[in-house]
Amino acid sequence: MSVPVGSGKNDKEALLDDIGASALGPSPPRCTNPNEVLYGATRGALRATLSRERSVRRRPRLLNRRVWSAVHSYSLNGTPLSHKKGDGVSGAVFKVASLIMIVDDHAVIRRMLREVFEAEDLQVFDAANGAEGVQKGKTRPHNSRSVHASDEWTGCCTGIEGAHAARPAANVHE
């Protein structure tokens, strides 16, 4: 956070450009001492951050208790919601779904595993064989919270062949 020397702007303007005036909200009071501006700017940015934190922690009026509980537990388990751009201030918070894909040629096994995972509030989709699983895996959304559970033999190809198809060899981790 350096103040450029010799530019057309005065120290205060240069510093505000450097920090980002949007973080400050209303214009800070005029002063000539750069240290005061720095202190005021830092304090203003901190105040804005704390305000965002509070608005996230406080349950938005439009969210019911159950949804808020899920969102709050996600914020404790995963990335803090308050550190993501655009959330909290408007009360719009989103939970990242945890996805499970089950690949098995036995419908009974698929149904049984689906019930087990859904009982844990996990989102489940399934496939009857490896090829279908790979296809669904490519088309369905997946994210950092996705796991695929596969059988060894899935009709058209083995689970291992399906695993090879699901990820390029270069990205395999051992």
Partner: protein
Amino acid sequence: MPHVPLLMFTNNPGGIVEKEARSAGISAVISRSDTDGVKQLLIRAKALLGLNGAGAQRAS
């Protein structure tokens, strides 16, 4: 889909299968015939999803 963790839930978790599975990038092979196989699968899946309270852990 290269970064999606994979679990194998199989009747034959032999040594060769497990070795092949690891080379294919499968995080864990869980025996279906074990009495607590389903429970193990659930625990592993939740660990990979980071839902066990301690963050995501790669099953070994």
